[in-house]
Structures are given as C-alpha cells and as structure tokens.
C-alpha cells in the first residue's frame, strides 16, 4: 500500500475505515451513527431489514460474547436471505462488527462470512472489503489488539480481499495456521523453532474464516508435509477441525505427521485459568516438537 500513513491502533484504523464509508455518501449526517437499546437480536434484525431495503448497514455488537442472542438472525435470516428468495432479496450490504477473543472472555463461532484481522492495517482493508462485499459479513475484532497493536496505517481508501490467506513467512518444514491474535503467538513460535530447533516454519494468517482460502493452505502443506493450527476457541468443532479434515482429504499422501490442533480446552472459558486455557507459545511449541519428531 502506498501513500500517506498515520500511526493508528486497531480501533482507530476501523474508525478511519468507517469515516471513509460515511464520507463516500454525501447524505452523511450525525443521525446516521447512534446508540441502540440493549437488544442484540433487534440490532441484527434491524440491520438485515435495512440492508435488504437497500441501505448500507454496519451493526455493532458490543462484544462477540453477546452476539448469541442475535444468532438466529445471523444464521437463519442473514445468511440465507439471498438463497431462499432466489436472489430477489439479500442483505449483502450488512456488516456486523464485534470485538472478540480472549482478554477476560473469549468466544468464536462460525456462520456465513467471518473475518478476523490480526492488526490495524489488515483491519482497515478487510473492513472496507467487508462493507462493500455483496454478502453479509461478520467482522470479528480481537479485543486485546484494540489498543495494543499500533501500526502505520495508510490514510487512503484501500481494500484487502476477503477469502485470501496471507503467507507471512515462507518456510519449508511445518505450516502454521492462525488468525487474529493467534498469528502473533505463532510468529513467536516460528522464531523459537528456527533458533532452538533449526526448523523452518511457514506462517499463514487465514484472515477470512468463512469462506476460507483452502488453496493457500493446501499448497503450503503439500510443500511442508506438516500442519499445525491454533485457535483460542475450544478444540471440539473449532474451525481447526474443518481445516484439518480438508487438508487430510487433499494432502493425505504428502503428510509426514498427524495434523496438530492447539486450541482452547473443551471447558467453559475459565475465569481463573485463562493463561492455561489459551494456546500460548509454549503449548504451540510443544505441539510443533511433536510434529517434527513424529
């Protein structure tokens, strides 16, 4: 990305992206950004209705943890609108924002388009793509990065394509896949692998969870023969299971070791044990050792 940049953290870059969206419509006014009552189901339902009637709607759910009351609206209404109306109606101009991930409380789920940025630059580009995408999108924003992650973010309008994973580091021995905050954990694991074990890792940020970039991961695993996926959400039915299954189908003969998933445990998110629950670099590193010594 070229042009002028500015120091922004993740929430500033998102605000900047929303300013760009609002500025692009000359009817912009203060009344277009407002507080709602505490009614998640209503917030998303209204968003779907607005979008179906032709408006661009950005609905914000305070935290992803609170999105569940709206789950029926997302799963049964938003994601099927186009299909069940034979494309007569859709709510593609709806984007639902929700800060997510561990920092006291965590949650991850899947529905239609689900996007998670790892930092401010990605946040802005992916968000602009999400709003303009012709499908409804759930945009999850890692809470912990809101203030922590600061980058030089281009001030201009730019998009980062949805459903494209990004290879952050090229490597030959093991493929590491993560998204959001977990990318930063895996980056450290890459470093540890190189320094302590002389192992070369290929690090991939999935960026869009649904629909996800199968090709990039498959190509990488065909090269490395080993895959480690890490996410904060619980192991069972977590998205790593889906990736794992797809890779097993497509790369069966190239796999040198069983795919490793390093995830949250199948317990409720434990207030007191958060550091043990999270797939931190130590747990990922242990799993990595297991893969390479298989």
């Amino acid at each position: 990305m070229e042009g002028e940049t500015q120091k922004m953290n993740l929430f500033q870059s998102l605000t900047n992206a929303m300013d760009i969206i609002l500025d692009s419509d000359p009817t912009a006014g203060k009344d277009r950004v407002f507080n709602t009552p505490l009614s998640e189901q209503g917030i998303v339902g209204f968003g779907i209705g607005m979008a179906a009637a032709g408006a661009t709607a950005i609905a914000e759910i305070q935290f992803a943890d609170y999105i569940y009351p709206a789950f029926d609206q997302l799963v049964n209404e938003a994601s099927t609108f186009r299909y069940r109306s034979g494309d007569l109606f859709n709510c593609g101009s709806l984007t639902v924002r929700a800060p997510c991930g561990a920092v006291g409380h965590g949650a991850l789920y899947h529905s239609q388009s689900v996007v998670i940025p790892r930092g401010p630059i990605q946040a802005k580009g992916l968000f602009l793509s999400s709003v303009r995408d012709r499908n409804p999108t759930v945009f999850l924003e890692p809470k912990i990065l809101y203030r922590q992650a600061v980058e030089e973010v281009p001030v201009s309008d730019y998009e980062i394509p949805l459903s494209e994973a990004e290879i952050l580091e090229q490597g030959s021995d093991v493929t590491l896949v993560g998204w959001g905050t977990q990318v930063h954990v895996l980056r450290e694991v890459c470093k540890m692998a190189k320094e302590e074990l002389g192992v070369s890792c290929e690090l991939i940020d999935l960026q869009t969870i649904i629909p996800w970039d199968e090709e990039t991961i498959i190509k990488s695993v065909l090269k490395t023969g080993r895959l480690l996926i890490a996410h904060e959400a619980p192991l069972t039915a977590g998205f790593a299971a889906e990736i794992s299954s797809t890779i097993q189908e497509n790369c069966f003969l190239s796999l040198e070791a069983p795919i490793q998933r390093v995830c949250g445990w199948d317990t409720p998110f434990p207030h007191i044990f958060e550091p043990f629950y999270l797939p931190d670099k130590w747990r990922c590193f242990e799993a990595l050792k297991k893969i390479i010594s298989y």
Partner: protein, 449 residues
C-alpha cells in the same frame, strides 16, 4: 408490647399540620406533633415502658427503650391494580438495626472491592452495588428464606444478603499473590497473569468471579444482559409445578428491560400465572446510556402490559420492603406475575473501567448522595424516631468495618486454586483420575487427541 401513651398521638394525623413538623422533643410529640424527615415521616412511636417515655426523644441516649416506630412510605404508582402496597409501615428496633448493619456492610464491602481493584488485587469485570442497597435488603426482608432469587452481574450485595460471608465474596474476587508451575522443564510464573482472578476459598471456587456467585435458592449472578429473566420464569414454573408455595424474584436492569427475551418471559409467566416477581432495578443507566436514550417508555412498571405493576422508591428500604410484601402476597396467592420497578441509583461507574462521569455530571451523583442516599435516610429514621441512638449507630458502623476489614485480610491471604481445578466441574462427577474433558492433559498442557 405496650402500645400505651403515644398511640393516641397519631390518630389526628399530625402530618397534615405543617407547622408542627419540626418537633424534636417528647413534649412536642405529646402535643400532637411528629418529626419531619427527609423521606417518609414517623407516624407513631411505641415505647416499651410508659414510665420512661418522657426521655424518649429528648434523650437519645435512652432510645433503646423505643421498640417500634411507624413511618409513612413513599408513594407507589400502580399499573393494572386496584390498590397498591401499604402506605405506612412499622419498623422494629431489631429490624432497623439489622438493616442498618447490612447496609453498612454492603457499602463497605463494595468500597473494599473498589480499593482492592485499584491496587490490582482484583481485576476483570467488577460491578458495584453502592447506592442500591435498599433494593436488595428491603426485598430480602419481605420474602421467605426458601423463595428464589436470580439476578444479573451486579450481584455482590444479593450474594451477601443470601447468607454468603463477605470474606467468601471478596475471596472470589481477589488475586493469588504467586503462582509458579514447572512443566516440561519450563517455568511458568503466573503471578502477574493471574492477578485478580479469584481464590480457592471464593464462593464459586474462584471460577466465577464478580458476576457469578450463588447460594441457597439464589441462582446467581448472570453475565448476559437479560438472559437470567427466562431462567427466573423457569424457576417459578418449577415452584408452581411442585406446588411448594415458593416464589421467584427475577431481577434485571433498566438496560436489560429492552431485551426481547424479557418480553417472551412476561408472556409465558402471565399465560401460566407463574409465582414470579419481575424486578426492574432502574438505576438510570445501562452502562453509559441513560434510560431516556434507550427506552420508548421509561415507566418500567407498566412495560409488562397485561402484568400488574408497581413503581417503588428503591432508595427507601421500608417502601421497598412493604411493596415487596405486597407483591409477594399477590403472586404467592396464585394471581400470577407482578412487576416491580425500583427506582434507584448507582454511585460508582458501570464497572471498574468506567469512571462514571462522561455521561452524567458529578453534580447529579452528589445531589443523589445528599438527598436520596438509602443509608443516610435509614440512619435518620432510626435516630429521629429514637429506634436507635448515636451510640448504636457508631457501634454498628464499627462492627461493619471490622467485618469487612477482616474479610479483606482473608481474601488476600487465601490459598491459590490448584491447576487441576481447570478441568473439574465441567461434567458431573468430574475427578482427576480419568477426567473426561476431551483434548486436555493438564500435566503436559497438551492436546491429547
């Protein structure tokens, strides 16, 4: 109980004589005067021994002779009811002192939590109840011990009045000082990371934290706004099904009152005439959004539509108690649900990360503290009626302080929870041997799949 002497004083309704409202002496009282109070007026005072009644008000030092006083209550607007709660109530000395003690403990417990939070002994979510004390204490005083209560995350006070010691509550909030583990030759020092995450002797074993505490017929502490309301309906349904005479007090905030599931619950509760009191604790704000910005009508007691409702001054403990008595009788007698709005106020911000000053003025908070504070108002009632004297008040405040101070010490020194606990309590009969949590081997901290 001797109801001699002063009883006749009240028969002429001294409250209607404004010029006499400032009487402070027994002589004045005898002349048919009552004492003007900021909230609620004394109607009559009953003394144990008529022979000593001359000392009653003039000498507060002997106030322990006053056993009962009757007070006028705040007005309660009603909805879909022919009549509302009683307009007067008798407060006994024992009850009065007990309430005062509970209020003092809760206020001091929350202040302690705030202090511990600032010194990073507590962290994470922490929502304080200061300002709303009369709601919890007044309600508990008018229901049975086996009646159920379910509330949201602002639950420390409710936990306390349900019999959980302050030490257990603060322990649930407080941090271990040091946590060190060694796994596969790697040392972990979690003292920083785990700061403020509860202790083993906390009332939820440190696993719940601020928002999740429980007790006898007390279904907690719930973190999702409004989600506890259908649960309260279900608890009431169980009571009705078992025909056990119990009712369920189902609490939620003014912000939660806008959640769809609240209205679904109203409907089912009325449809099946469940023994439930819906209580909207209206403290004026849902986080930083004032009620006016969030609700099409802020008359929360009417929002059950077909469910009868009463709007109650939640800053006056006696009014809360009498209104609750009325509501409990109503629903226990089989007439179905009833809705109570308690108008109240929170002094602290929404949670510890909210200074509470960006969406309301400091003046607003100060003026409520000065004119409507529930503790001050009870203290005045007790003193002015002679139910208590300043020595009583001082003694109670001292005891409350000692109780909370001791609890803070316990909370800060309690044992750390064991790492094993991470995997327990997920399924019934969990234990360490052959624990069933898939994907967990806590010793190598590694997925076992």
């Amino acid at each position: 109980m001797l109801r001699a002497g002063l009883r006749s004083l009240t028969s002429t309704s001294p409250l209607n004589k404004p010029d006499l409202n400032t009487a402070r002496t027994y002589e004045q009282l005898k002349a048919g005067v009552s004492i003007k109070m900021r909230m609620g007026c004394i109607l009559k005072i009953i003394v144990a021994s008529p022979s000593k009644k001359g000392l009653l008000v003039r000498a507060r030092g002997l106030a322990s002779e006053v056993n009962e006083a009757e007070f006028e209550l705040s007005d309660c607007p009603i909805h879909k009811l022919d009549s509302g709660p009683a307009k007067k109530a008798v407060l006994t000395r024992d009850d009065g002192l007990h309430f005062y003690r509970q209020m003092q403990v809760i206020r001091r417990m929350e202040n302690a939590a705030s202090t511990m939070y600032k010194s990073k002994v507590i962290r994470g979510f922490c929502h304080l109840y200061s300002g709303q004390e009369a709601c919890a204490i007044g309600m508990q005083a008018a229901i049975h011990k086996d009646d159920s209560i379910i509330t949201a995350y602002r639950c420390h006070a409710w936990t306390y009045i349900r019999g959980i010691p302050v030490a257990d509550i603060l322990s649930e909030l407080a941090a271990p000082c040091m946590l060190m583990y060694e796994v596969n030759d790697v040392k972990y020092d979690l003292s920083e990371k785990l700061k403020g995450e509860g202790r083993k002797n906390g009332c939820s074993k440190g696993k719940g934290g601020s928002m999740h505490m429980y007790g006898h017929e007390y279904y907690g502490g719930n973190g999702i706004v409004g989600a506890q309301v259908p649960l309260g309906g279900g608890i009431a349904l169980a009571h009705k099904y078992r025909d056990n005479g119990q009712i369920c007090v189902t609490l939620y905030g003014d912000g939660a009152a806008n959640q769809g599931q609240v209205f679904e619950t109203y409907n089912m509760a009325k449809l099946w005439d469940l023994p439930v009191i819906f209580v909207c604790e209206n403290n004026g704000y849902g986080m930083g959004t004032s009620v006016e910005r969030a609700a099409a009508t802020t008359e929360y007691h009417t929002r059950g539509d077909y469910i009868p409702g009463i709007k109650v001054d939640g800053m006056d403990i006696l009014t809360v108690r009498e209104a609750t008595r009325f509501a409990a009788d109503f629903t226990r007698s089989g007439k179905g649900p009833i809705l109570m709005e308690l108008t109240t106020y929170r002094y602290y911000g929404h949670s510890m990360s909210d200074p509470g000053t960006s969406y309301r003025s400091r003046d607003e908070v100060q003026s409520i503290r000065k004119t409507r504070d529930p503790i001050m108002s009870l203290r005045e009632k007790l003193l002015d009626s002679g139910l208590a004297d300043t020595d009583d008040i001082k003694r109670i405040e001292k005891e409350a302080k000692e109780e909370v101070d001791a609890a803070v010490k316990v909370a800060q020194a309690g044992p750390e929870p064991a790492l094993d606990d991470l995997f327990l309590d997920v399924y019934a009969d969990d234990n360490m041997e052959g624990h069933k949590i898939r994907g967990c081997d806590n010793w190598i901290r590694q997925a076992t799949n």
